[in-house]
């Protein structure tokens, strides 16, 4: 079959370096992956095309790139699964990281964030003579996170990183969970304390993009949610993030509605002088909402059947 790759290229050594598109037509077998096709191009058509790749079997994490707008491993993506009826496939470098050349991005920001979570085991107490004893279920659970190959796909498509480069991001937070969830690690509380800070676990907006694009089933967002649970369980209930979750839940339990009017003031703390600047900062938005007649209601009547909602809460909140 014939496939046309529409590749976004960039050469920093051009006189006036600008990204440009170049198309390549490849005669492909139907079992070919996008990587197979790119290698055909690089080896036999245009040796100047730059990309990283090695293992061809989705374990080395080198070939992350955007294919038809979403980040994927080129070696794990069959052409037949992404090409349109005319055989076109769009290939671009991964997002949220600076492009070095063609499909090669600079992963320094990625690794800086991984480094920021102190990503090494910190056991407490004296080392045992043999192995640490640990339940196999705990180890199997961690194997799911340890399957992360650090390819950067979740970071490429993270919608928070797109607007806030300060966010630690899905890969680093999943890596952090790998230690917080490890029965051998002794630094849990210190780790959770640090991850509570600005840019940490509470800055995820739960858009699910990272879960969807991860090629290894690591489900970074689920790990971030697990970190939040662990943080609250460990007693970090005073953070903005924890209070937001609490206020959110209380509102639903009370009326079945999310009361957006009180969500922000209650999260920040209405009688907390420190939250005053943030509250004032939100005023222009509130005024604009008033002007467009979109100010949320201050009070809600409970929905019909609220007792069922409350029963769900009671069941979930009951001590196990």
């Amino acid at each position: 079959m014939q496939v046309t790759l529409d590749v976004r290229r960039f050469n920093p050594e051009d006189a006036n370096p600008k990204p440009y598109r170049k198309t390549y037509t490849v005669e492909a077998e139907d079992y070919f992956t996008v990587l197979d096709a790119l290698i055909q191009v690089r080896e036999y058509q245009d040796p100047t095309l730059a990309l990283r790749c090695s293992c061809r079997a989705s374990i080395c994490g080198s070939c992350a790139m955007r294919i038809n707008g979403h980040a994927k491993l080129a070696c794990k993506t069959k052409l037949t699964s992404v090409m349109d009826a005319q055989g076109n496939v769009r290939v671009e470098p991964a997002g949220n990281m600076p492009v070095v050349k063609d499909l090669i991005v600079d992963m320094k920001p990625f690794w800086d964030k991984v480094r920021a979570v102190d990503p090494w085991l910190q056991p407490e107490g004296p080392e045992p003579e043999g192995e640490y004893l640990a339940p196999n279920e705990a180890m199997l659970h961690l194997t799911g996170v340890m399957s992360c190959i650090m390819c950067g796909i979740c970071v490429s498509d993270c919608t928070v990183l797109e607007v806030d480069s300060n966010f630690l991001g899905p890969a680093a937070l999943a890596k952090a969970y790998r230690f917080v969830g490890d029965p051998r690690d002794g630094a849990n509380v210190a780790r959770l304390k640090k991850l509570n800070e600005y840019g940490g676990m509470w800055d995820c907006t739960r858009c699910y993009e990272c879960v969807q694009v991860c090629p290894k089933g690591v489900a970074p967002m689920d790990r971030i949610m697990a970190l939040r649970d662990k943080a609250i369980t460990a007693g970090f209930t005073g953070t903005t993030g924890a209070r937001h979750a609490e206020v959110f839940a209380a509102s639903i339990k009370h009326t079945g509605w999310l009361n957006e009017f009180w969500l922000l003031p209650k999260t920040l703390g209405m009688f907390n002088p420190l939250s005053l600047p943030a509250l004032l900062g939100a005023l222009p938005i509130a005024l604009r909402a008033v002007r467009h007649n979109k100010l949320p209601h201050m009070f809600h009547k409970p929905i019909s059947g609220i007792q069922h909602v409350r029963r769900i809460f009671d069941k979930v909140e009951a001590p196990k």
Partner: protein, 560 residues
């Protein structure tokens, strides 16, 4: 150009390289690591099944492990080295666990084991079927913790040799295209294998025999390079690996009649005979018409979905992606494929090569613990044990030797070679074409079964390809990430290595382990119980020999 200086420089950042780096640093050396890819992209990732260790605390015996290794090697391994590896395995395993590797556990929460080929005892410790990746990422965690300098995406083009000793490396920084000199009192090569000399291979595209060729060109002895392992279970087409752990967990090998054909070849160990034996058996079945489409079958159906999804999930993913097979429902077609090289840069048990100041560890080295055939799950152990030992020895040397001068003119040879590739007018030839011809030739003639005529053909073909290589032009003229130039330099390393493999294979007039000659099918201990050495000369490799160290296990007839 810049000049950098360290006590110890480690070339390669896979398991052996990182273990060496950690060891050298713990001995107080100023150590740096240099790698053409980011450390976690290294090919150690692809090791799936596990790591062998006899835990004496559980009643296992390191002598048993050593004997299995020696027998597996078809008695070509040096037994003093095997003893070192098997004796130190238990402690090394526990150390890895303490670093953070999340090994699978048994019901009591202790480390769990599975069986692997060529061994009666279950002594293979594992992380599902991603053991190599799990270990690689944990060692990189330790590297991040150590704050060691890593020259990431730098490619070493030659070793700096002065007064017969190694004093550093010349390397190209891929991001800028600049050539640099890194001076060191000791250099450790940990560059991995040579898989891409063959096509197809289980190995990743970065596995291009860099260390073998660097050491060879510098004059080091390269040992037993005819010993190339074909793994019994690789996918047709792209050659991707299906772990031996599948058979360790109980999978069957079937021919086109649905028979477990290993009954004929290895009635006692069956599918878990050593790799050379299983690969030869499969190839015989295929050659005699009991294969399908050049393959036999690996059948996991009776293991059940649950076991496959917990212990073999990665190969389930690979089988689905590349063969469209659900392992719990269908047998998967597999065949022997190039996987590993037992031979390499000759070292002693401290990683020291025949050149002062130059050390080697991991797949690029030949201690030799694998002899003529490596047991599954001994390669990870090899990287950890001898990586550490090389790191310690290199650090010790750094305390003994003073700073010695290196003229900056050492850069000029590589600079000129690169300039000529870049300035030459392109002809119709391409690096990829030469590599493919090399790989297919090697896979046809220097494979599971060999003979004099075939190996001669291969050697002649490689020499013709070298002539074409000398005329090759690099089409990308840029400085930044010129992968076209990188592949061309790698191809030069691979052609050297292919020539060494052919010359060494032609020299050995017997069959032993992975080196099986249909024209001389017998092992000949009287004349050939010795290592093959290859040395660089302008006219091609000069072959010599070295004795095999036998400590306590006399060669026996080998049957499984």
């Amino acid at each position: 150009m810049s000049v950098y200086q360290h006590d110890v420089i480690v070339v390669g950042a896979g398991l052996a390289g990182m273990r060496a780096t950690i060891a050298a640093q713990s001995r107080g050396a100023n150590v740096a690591m240099i790698s053409k890819v980011h450390p976690v992209r290294s090919h150690s990732n692809a090791a799936q099944g596990g790591i062998n260790a006899a835990l004496t605390s559980r009643g296992d015996s390191w002598e048993d492990h050593a004997l299995a290794t020696v027998k597996g090697s078809d008695y070509l391994a040096d037994q003093d080295a095997v003893e070192v590896m098997c004796q130190e395995a238990g402690a090394a395993l526990i150390e890895l666990e303490h670093m953070g590797v999340i090994f699978s556990r048994d019901e009591d929460g202790r480390l769990g084991t599975r069986r692997f080929g060529g061994q009666e005892q279950a002594r293979t410790f594992f992380v599902a079927d991603i053991t190599g990746a799990a270990m690689l990422h944990v060692l990189y965690e330790q590297i991040m913790h150590s704050k060691v300098r890593v020259y990431e995406e730098w490619f070493v083009t030659s070793l700096v040799m002065e007064d017969g000793e190694c004093r550093g490396v010349v390397a190209i920084e891929l991001m800028t295209g600049q050539l640099h000199l890194i001076k060191a009192k000791a250099v450790i090569l940990a560059t991995g294998g040579s898989g891409r000399v063959y096509e197809p291979t289980t190995n990743g595209m970065v596995v291009t025999a860099d260390g073998h060729a660097l050491a060879y060109r510098a004059g080091a002895a390269i040992m037993d390079m005819e010993m190339v392992q074909y793994h019994p279970t690789t996918l047709k087409g792209n050659g991707v690996l299906i772990t031996e752990a599948a058979r360790g967990e109980g999978a069957y090998l079937l021919n086109s009649d649905g028979d477990r054909f290993m009954q004929k070849y290895a009635p006692h160990m069956m599918e878990l005979a050593s790799r050379d034996v299983v690969s030869r058996s499969e190839q015989t079945e295929i050659n005699e018409g009991r294969g399908v489409d050049g393959c036999v079958f690996l059948d996991l159906r009776h293991l059940g979905r649950e076991l496959i999804e917990t212990k073999l999930s990665y190969i389930q993913e690979v089988a689905g992606d590349f063969a469209n097979v659900d392992l719990s429902k269908q047998p998967i077609p597999i065949r022997p494929g190039n996987h590993y090289i037992m031979g390499g840069i000759k070292t002693d048990v401290h990683g020291a090569t025949s050149i002062p100041g130059l050390y080697a560890a991991g797949e690029c080295a030949c201690v030799s613990v694998h002899g003529a055939n490596r047991l599954g799950a001994n390669s990870l152990l090899d990287t950890i044990i001898f990586g550490r030992r090389a790191g310690e020895a290199a650090a010790a040397r750094a305390t003994e030797v003073g700073d010695k001068p290196v003229p900056e003119s050492v850069l000029s040879v590589d600079k000129e070679a690169i300039r000529s590739f870049l300035s030459r007018k392109p002809n119709k030839d391409m690096a990829a074409k030469i590599r493919l011809e090399m790989g297919e030739t090697m896979n046809e003639h220097v494979a599971v079964f060999r003979n004099e005529a075939g190996m001669q053909t291969a050697l002649q073909t490689i020499r013709q390809l070298r002539e074409r290589y000398a005329e090759l032009a690099v089409q990308d003229k840029g400085q930044v990430f010129n992968t076209n130039l990188l592949f061309t330099l790698e191809l030069g390393f691979m052609l050297d290595t292919a020539e060494i493999i052919c010359a060494s294979a032609l020299a050995r007039k017997e069959s032993r382990g992975a080196h099986f000659r249909t024209d001389i099918p017998q092992r000949d201990d009287a004349n050939w119980l010795k290592h093959t050495l290859a040395y660089f000369t302008q006219a091609g490799p000069r072959i010599d020999y070295a004795p095999v160290t036998i400590t306590r296990w006399q060669p026996q007839v080998r049957s499984y």
